[in-house]
């Protein structure tokens, strides 16, 4: 019998997914520090929902449950979705989003390895379309809040949307800096003066920029561990810098700096954790560059001209559709063949 090779040297799918989760920890820590520990509740909710729905669907599809739960891919989806949602998102928002991500976007397409769309982004897009008001309101970072919510107040808010008597929803949450910038620009204000608002930090949004930087740190770990290749993050960040740089140079009064775009919203989460989802992304080295550049350009366009606060989710989903085309057009030259 010939079953060679007899040896292997590969991290298991579980190990890969575990390292992705590990790489998210600095970002989660920063998130909790900036917006409060409520995110941990969201993560727990999303994780349980993901595992439960995954198990239920696997049972319905008569697939082995244990190996597929152990691969931890559902948890990665859950965490990425939870981290994309506004802090202190109500519990049902988390549950509905995770349900869609796992059931519709993943299992109904055939489970691990068969989903053409990034499940977390599908979940996010569904929520954004269905509940735009909640999805665009982020609580102010704790440091900026007039009266920061305590741990129990956060829990209370997540599960019952009730606030201490003195507070009103609008007092605790507002638009994100990206969203704020867009609406203020429509009022014919200049970028320089808008950026003076307290919600703006050194590079991006006050507080959010630290979370973003922590995501970048985790991303570098993934790259060092050879879980992701340099192609996607590099191409994404360079393309985003390039397109925002061109607009900024043409009219600095109406377009934010490249650094702002990179350090705001979900840019770095996208660069290192979302577009690097191997299943729904391209496989050829060149294809990865085109894919990431496409996501960056679409993200920028949606951010600047679209109606949504951030463009990452739709940009990723649109580019997911192009993956088969990108792959087939960017096949590398095989050894001994002409191009």
């Amino acid at each position: 019998m010939n079953r060679s090779p007899y040896i292997s040297d590969a991290p298991s799918v579980s190990t890969i997914m575990f390292k992705v989760l590990l790489a998210l920890v600095p970002g989660i820590a920063a998130y909790a520090w900036v917006y409060g520990a409520g995110i941990l509740v969201s993560l727990t909710l999303a994780t349980s929902t993901a595992l439960l729905t995954e198990a239920a669907l696997l049972k319905l599809r008569q697939r082995p449950i244990k190996p597929y739960l152990m691969d931890m891919s559902a948890i990665v989806t859950a965490w990425l979705l939870a981290l994309s949602l506004p802090a202190l998102a109500p519990w049902w928002l988390v549950v509905i989003g995770t349900f869609f991500a796992i059931v519709i976007a993943k299992q109904l397409y055939g489970g691990l390895g068969y989903n053409p769309f990034n499940p977390a982004m599908v979940g996010y897009a569904v929520l954004l379309i269905s509940f735009p008001l909640i999805m665009t309101k982020w609580p102010a970072p704790l440091a900026l809040a007039a009266q920061p919510l305590s741990w129990s107040e956060q829990l209370n808010f997540i599960f019952s949307q009730s606030l201490p008597a003195a507070l009103h929803v609008d007092a605790t949450s507002s638009a994100t800096p990206l969203d704020y910038l867009k609406t203020q620009l429509l009022l014919n204000k200049e970028v320089a003066s808008i950026s003076l608002a307290p919600m703006f930090g050194h590079f991006g949004g006050q507080g959010q920029e630290y979370v973003t930087a922590a995501y970048g740190l985790g991303g570098l770990y993934l790259w060092q561990q050879r879980i992701i290749s340099w192609h996607l993050p590099t191409a994404f960040l360079l393309s985003l810098a390039a397109i925002s740089g061109v607009f900024y140079l043409v009219d600095p009064g109406h377009f934010a700096t490249p650094l702002f775009h990179i350090m705001s919203g979900a840019s770095l989460l996208c660069a290192f954790f979302i577009i690097t989802d191997p299943v729904s992304g391209p496989t050829t080295p060149k294809g990865k560059l085109y894919f990431a550049a496409g996501v960056a350009v679409l993200t920028y366009i949606i951010r600047v001209y679209g109606g949504y606060p951030d463009g990452v989710a739709f940009a990723v989903l649109i580019m997911n559709m192009c993956v088969p085309l990108i792959d087939s057009l960017t096949q590398p030259r095989v050894f001994g063949h002409e191009k």
């Binding site: 010939n2 060679s4 090779p5 590969a10 390895g113 496989t283």
Partner: protein
Amino acid sequence: MNAILNFASRILPGLGRDEDVHAFNGGVHPPEHKSESSTQPISVLNLPKTLVLPLRQHVGHLPKLQVKVGDRVLKGQLLAEAEGTVSAAIHAPTSGTITAIDEQIIPHPSGLPDTCITLSSDGLDTWAPLQPIDWQASDKKTLVDSLRRSGIVGLGGATFPSHIKLRSNSQSPIHTLIINAAECEPYITCDDMLMRERADAIVSGIEIVKYLLGAEKCLIGIEDNKPLASKAMRAACSQGQAEVKVVPTLYPSGDARRLIHLLLDLEIPSDKRSTDLGVQVFNVATVLAIHRYFAFGEPSISRIVTITGNVLQPQNFEVLFGTPLNDLIQAAGGAHTNTSHYIMGGPMMGFDLPNSQVPITKASNCIIAARQDLFPAAPPAMPCIRCTRCADACPVNLQPQELYWFAKSDNFEKARDYKLFDCIECGCCSYVCPSTIPLVQYYRYAKSEIIATDKAKEAADLARERNEFRLARIEREKLERAQKHAERAAGGRAEASANTDATVPSTPTASDSNDKQAAIAAAIARAKAQKLAGGSPAPAQTSPTAAADNTDKQALIAAAIERAKAAKLAAAQAGEAPKNTENVSPSVQAEIKQTDALREKVKKSSGENADIGSETSADKG
């Protein structure tokens, strides 16, 4: 000193590596496990009592047996000679008696039995008279022809008969000889030890091969994990016979196309051979065998085999072909009790041996005693997550994840488009797969399916071509026959009219007795045809004027063809005519049935051919 060098190369990978090697994409570096078997010098195995020599030890045709059961043979005596172009001879590895020629299990992935010669050793190991050849004094063609009798095949594992690779080809003269001493598979050290111990003999072999090929240059490619071997080879090449090139330890650098790229920065096009570009590759052990054949007249009867893994004393032995594996295991101190099975070849491309009795053959470079924890069974495969580690590892730049998808869904055309047939089955993709998918097996499956389909298609094409040819031939013969009949009929009638009317000049054919007979036959045939037509008067009988007119032969021929057609039409109508055969006795009905069957047969067998048809019906009638 050597120990230090050996140690240094292990802690400082790249030490002593040549700068001007050209890396290929991909490749993997599994744990080497070479030091276990490379501490001891090459030992010689005790003479086995019984040797089993499979006829199939090489790529190509089976050799032709030259001995029968009961024959006494001497060591080195020819047992089977090469037959056909691609074939290799087999010689007696020791002296003794042929005790059986039958089917036995051979060391092959299939595990199936094949024809083997069993030789009982007499313990004397008496050589047959050997005839060394002074290669410098002989012409190349004689030398290459004599190599056909040497039984030498590629000893790197490919087992391609060597004499074919040495035939001169005026179309593309060889300028560079590459000696493949990369030995990139883990565990295997037979070439390493051979170079350390017999470098001078190897270089002598290189000189012969260079001479036969007419190559000006020779490069020896050795991975940087064999510093002692490359040192020994450098010393042996002191007169510039060849240049030692140290390449990085990276599997599969021993693949010929990869090695050529490493050493020459030359990418052999997929549809060409290296010889088309003037490069020929020989394994290091093969050139040594060639040296021994010319210098001492020794045919190929033994090789160096690494026995390693779960045995007490892993090492290299010079083993006679046909030696049972058990003898080799015993010589290596025996296998540990927890040995699960034996693998032939390396862990990347080797295969499970069916048992430990199989003989050592020309392809047996390495035997690994396997243990469960040494080569654990792969966990159940998970779905492909398209992580493209396989694509990064593929030395051919394929997209293994796509090929897997196509192979799995039986989308073979697409697999072929994605260059499935460039896959060298090196196993790098499986080695790095997080989902532990047996990718190589999928590719083998797809390849064999495509080859089978192609063969079936080829056979179908051939059959269709043959059938079309047959139909065309029948059509042509029918026309020819009709024409001939018409001519004969014209001749016959002319004769008849000559007999009755003396004023009509006879045609030349009428006087020819042979033609007369033919005319008679034609007339009989005509009569039969008329009978078949149901006795309806044939136009021929009603046209005496045509018969009389012998000056216009063309018209006659046309008329004859017309007649034949009419007769055929009549016959066809008779076959389809409404029947009034109801309400008759069973015996009559049976008769009718029989007649109908006959008619049907006539129509079927020769609807085109009235002659045969009528004869058949006449015979059966």
